[in-house]
Amino acid sequence: MSQYLPKKEDLTREIEERPGPLKGDFAQKEWWEMPFEFREGNFCFPAKPEVIEQLGFPNPRKWMPTDEDWKLPDGWEKILLDGMKERLKKYRSIKLYLDTCVRCGACVDKCHFFLGTGDPKNMPVLRAELVRSIYRNDLPMFKRVLRGFAGARPLTVGVLKELYMYFYQCTECRRCSVFCPMGIDTAEITIMMRELLQLVGVNNNWILAPVANCNRTGNHLGIEPHTFVQNIESLVDDIEDVTGVTVEPTFNRKGAEILFITPSGDVFGDPGVYTMMGYMLLFHHIGLDYTISTYASEGGNFGFFTSNDMMKKLNAKMYHEAQRLGVKWILGGECGHMWRVVHQYMNTMNGPADFLDEPVSPVTGTKFSNAKATRMVHIAEFTADLIHHNKLKLDPKRNDHLRTTFHDSCNVARGMGMFEEPRYILDKVCNSFHEMDENTIREQTFCCGSGSGINAEEYMEMRMKGGFPRANAVRKVREKHKVDSLVTICAIDRATLTPLMRYWNPGVSVYGLHELVGNALVMEGESKRTEDLREEPLKGFEDDEEDDEA
């Protein structure tokens, strides 16, 4: 267990016993008088100087949030306030969302970080008020009047530290924006604040190191092309061990019909690799003419958590590579924030993608008209269409060893609106699927607690708190329906829900949707399947037993 993680009993006691507004305890202070403290476990390490230098970002230096002096550049207040003014001019959303909040309180108990920490400054409205208080202070003529009346305050080092703390306790999940009668999206404010804090060198290594890697090698983990290929080839061997089938992915192949891009976590991380095996089995099953790029080998985009320009810079590789390879369209793997970027930003930033064709499924002939401009299709849309047209030979009994529930990933849910496709697929590839409580799924889904680039080891304590509402909902569906498998369509989820489940709900494993598809696929020429892709025994398919007659 991580040194940054308290014992479960201690954290349980803390959650149950600490007083706070969630339990109806009245605060004796105004929120701006409430102290906060950086201590081990509640901050991510700042970016290393060499990473900052590699990216050409300002103020590279060694520092820690626990230091008294953060070594801010001269005139940092002006940098931040000018930066804010500039962004207020560039984004209607931010201006509007700073101006129109009525503090009605609909959002107060909707944030997973508030529910997990009980800290009032994690109420979405107060998170935004941290910024609004400075924003209001910037109207000189009303300054004195406004301070007390409208909650304005000057930007001090203390306020800057507070911004750093609380804008990394927001995962840009947008759950609050669902409930807001004004449609205020805290993610917009968080995105701006993180971008501003970068300007004075107040940052996060867990985000910026992958950004630097991704820029240079094409993926977050900094994997060079030959290693990338080797890893996928070892997955090919694993597939052969389990199924007896040899799948044949190709790399950087010109003239392929489809470029497939998925988060690099699927290539390197456990349990993501099993999802990758599922994709490759699927593509082999339908004889898809596809290729994988080592250059655009990252679906995820930590630039999204850094700055608008960085997001665009990293994302540009997708179209650049698709054009070079001369593919017809792009197919994207399971990922959350990748899909927010692809769905809502990519074509605007790096389009138009005239050099691609409007996507058509080569197997079913279905035109993906909802992706006709961006020309990138989500794997769940693609697979749901295949299943709907009876193009896959599936045996859902091969997932009978799993009792599943489905976790909607924030970005796919609230930043894309994909709810039915993954459920349809899940329903077809396994026999046991139970939903969690209605207030915790679909558009009301809870974040894994570690999204938006805060899944750092040193942040474990906060992650377990932020993920508590999700874990709590899983615990309940587990008690009710003996669920032991949490299925998701997000690479970050696969990486972060695993420790979350280990901590709060031991015995629940995390699966990618296409891993289950891979388990269920009846491949041509396969050997007798007795194990799933994790090489765990299949129920009812054991070696020495006669097959159950259905």
């Binding site: 810079k313 074509n347 349809y424």
Partner: protein
Amino acid sequence: MKKVVMPLVIVAVLALIPYIGVEYAGLDYLFGVIMPYTAALVLLAGMLWRMIDWLRRPVPFNITSTCGQEQSLDWIRQDRIESPSKPWHAAVRVLSEVLLFRSLFRNNKAELRKGPDLVYGSHKWLWLAGLVFHWSLLLIVVRHARFFLATLPAPVAWIEHADSFLDVTVPALYMTDAIVLAAVSYLVIRRLLDAKVRIISLQTDFFPLFLITAIVLAGISMRYLTKVDIMSVKALGTGLAEFSLDAPGEIGALFYVHLFLVCSLMIYFPFSKLVHMGGIFISPTRTMLNNSRAKRHVNPWNAPVKFRTYAEYEDEYREKMKKAGIPVEKE
């Protein structure tokens, strides 16, 4: 509780100003004619300026909050309101926010119990109080057309009629008067008794609630208790509606308190959170269509960004790529 007392004091002072001004200084003209014109001008110009100020800022990205199934495969049912793909879908979405407070209707309440266990209960009170509060205010404002127009338009007469159908007092009780007081009380009490909402509340949240309460109380007492000269009020109102500059007749000071508080609200409006009245119509997460993959959204300030090209990448890794059998552009 400074944040409650201060706004109360401000409202009390605001109420005293016209009372003293009219009773002791004879400033009827200032409070009866100059103030209403000024306030109307500030409200209109202010809100217009706020709207223009918002609208001239670009919306660089499509940031729809998708609260329902996107339009995708033909056989999957799209949630056309929560994930709009056509302008009329979004129009219904925004109007249902404006007229019915659709998102607020989703509201639930999280409770932390022993275990620890989080449970979510339905909690529609804020929606209900908010909705009747706003609708009552709107109807009350519409009803006031009686004081500004020589002949009353039929719809206003219907509203008056419907609003007073209970007919339990003399003159007949307007339901909206009672409802708005009940709703505003709930909204104030909630800000005090709900620990979460108390923390987030600022002076500027209590102030408009108190101000509106004072306006309503002054209005109610003029109608049901302390009568003022209604003919003079109507003469002043119709005069104002016709941009007349005539001095008002003899009206009780209470009327000027009512009027001045209304003027204060109008002036306060464009500089406060009350601008949400305009903002709700243009909130990008609700107004935009979830069609960003089907139709390219254009960002007016989209500037080119230098990225690492494939050629640069291959230059660094060419030998390794060749060894691994990965095709390269240059041998």
